[in-house]
Every structure is written in structure tokens, then in C-alpha cells.
């Protein structure tokens, strides 16, 4: 009986430790999924096991521990590595075509369809 209780307590502690650990790293996962791994392009920081990405995850954890919110962490990394590090591009003169092109194509397609319908 005593052994059972002992084993259960040990499992309880392992479980609670894992839970608190997971709660923190989930946040790191969430942020690192939105970051581009700059030395292994095509992968996010979350996916990569490169030295760069591993350090980046530690840094994100440190920033969370310091009480920084997501926005502050993204801004910090953008100031160090530029806009390229985040997967969500902002609208500026370099990316305006990226944002506007789908709209232009949509309007153009609409005109084509309208013409076809009106001719019939």
C-alpha cells in the first residue's frame, strides 16, 4: 500500500512538472511557428533543429519569462533581423504588388465573366 502511494505521488509530481513545462513551451512553439529560420530557408524556427533556431527558441522563452508579449517579441526580432524573419509581410512599397495583385486578378476575372455573360 505504501509503495502504491509513493509511486502515485512520484507520478503526480512528474505529471505536474511536465504540465508546467509544456505550458511555457507551447507559447514558444506558437511564436516560433511564425518565424522564418534564416539560415535554413523553407523551414520555420519551430521546425528547425539548427543552432540558430535552437538559440532563437531559448531567446523567445527568456523574453516570455521577462514578461514580454508576442508583439514585443516579434518587434524585437524584426529590429534585429528585418521584416523577413516573420512570415506575415507588412504592406510597404516592396510588398504592395503582393497584396494588390490578387485584387487586380479578381477584378480582371470578373470583367471577363461579365463580358461572356453579356455576349450570350
Amino acid at each position: 500500500m505504501k509503495i502504491k502511494i509513493l509511486v502515485l505521488t512520484i507520478f503526480y509530481f512528474i505529471g505536474s512538472f511536465n504540465l508546467s513545462y509544456a505550458a511555457n513551451s507551447e507559447k514558444v512553439d506558437q511564436i516560433s511557428k511564425n518565424l522564418r529560420c534564416l539560415i535554413c530557408q523553407g523551414q520555420s524556427v519551430y521546425d528547425s533543429q539548427s543552432d540558430f533556431a535552437l538559440s532563437m527558441k531559448i531567446l523567445i522563452q527568456n523574453k516570455i519569462d521577462e514578461g514580454k508579449n508576442d508583439e514585443q517579441i516579434y518587434d524585437f526580432l524584426k529590429s534585429k533581423y528585418g521584416e523577413w524573419i516573420v512570415y506575415d509581410p507588412e504592406i510597404n512599397k516592396n510588398t504592395v504588388l503582393l497584396w494588390v495583385l490578387p485584387l487586380i486578378l479578381f477584378v480582371f476575372g470578373g470583367i471577363l465573366i461579365l463580358r461572356k455573360v453579356s455576349i450570350k
Binding site: 534564416l38 539560415i39 530557408q41 543552432d51 540558430f52 535552437l54 538559440s55 532563437m56 531559448i58 531567446l59 527568456n62 529590429s79 534585429k80 533581423y81 528585418g82 523577413w84 480582371f108 471577363l112 463580358r115 461572356k116 455576349i119
Partner: protein, 177 residues
Amino acid sequence: MVKNIKLIAVVFLVIVSFFILLKGLNKTNNYSPNLNSSNIDFNFKAKFLYSNEETTLYELINDKDFSLINIWASWCLPCRDEHPYLLNLNSLGKLNIIGINYKDSEVNAKKFIKELGNPYSKIVVDPSGVNSIELGAYGVPETILINNNSKTILKKYIGPLDDKKLAELKMIIKNEN
């Protein structure tokens, strides 16, 4: 008429995509950030390799007009190749060369310096790689030239130093003086 518009549109799109792809061919895949946008946080904290004391970047770059921050590791082969260039730069006497030992073991780092010579005036360690990220670095080796007075980055090299970069560094220091 409708057929013509379609044809023109398709031909136009093909031509546009052709030129976009052609332009992309000549671009390198390696992205490096704009130097002017990357600022340095001088409150950066790190421990020395040869003592257990903690220091900040402010304290590290206090002497001479220029500082050269070099990120290195004993396990990094290109760092071995660039070491003679750092020794050469140190012999100029105008630079305060600071080494950041990246994700390395203390024993191996000290062995590396003993074997190849020490061009650094100070060496700090970065066992987790976090300090290097705070400097906006990608990995090893990486070299950053700083003007100590204006606290600005003058030049940044990703990858090992070579003859060309050495000449360029000497040129920048000469022109800035």
C-alpha cells in the same frame, strides 16, 4: 474579340512571369538584413572566458576608436581559416577585437586560443547562443566592425574573413580616421 483579349492576357501573363523568374535567377537566396536597420543593444550581458565575471557590451568596447566583434567557436572549421586574419588585424593596433565564443566548451575554446594565438583583447562566452541572436547574428563565424564613438555598425561580415574582406576592413578604418 473576346478570344483576342484572352490570348493577349495569356501572352502578357507568360511574359511577365518569365521576366519575374529571370530576375529571380540572378538574385542570391541568402538573405541578409539591411545594416542600417540592425541596431545593437549595448546592454548585452555575458561572462568572460577567462574569469567568471559578467560584463556588458558598453564595458567591452570602451577603448580605442573601433571595435571588431568576432563570433567564433573551436568546432567551427572556417573560424580556423580566418584566425590568421584576426591576428593580422590585431597587429595594426587600432582595433579592439572582442571574441564571442559561441556554443563551445570552455576547455576546447581555451585550447583553440592556445594553439592558434589570441587576437582578442577580451573574450566572452555565449553557451546558449542567445547573446549572438541579440547581436543579430546568424552563426559562426561572423564579424562586426563598430565605431566606438558613434556606437554604430560600420560593416558586418557573415562567414569567414578573407583577403578581400581584410583589405576592405583596413580601408574603412583608414577612411574613418
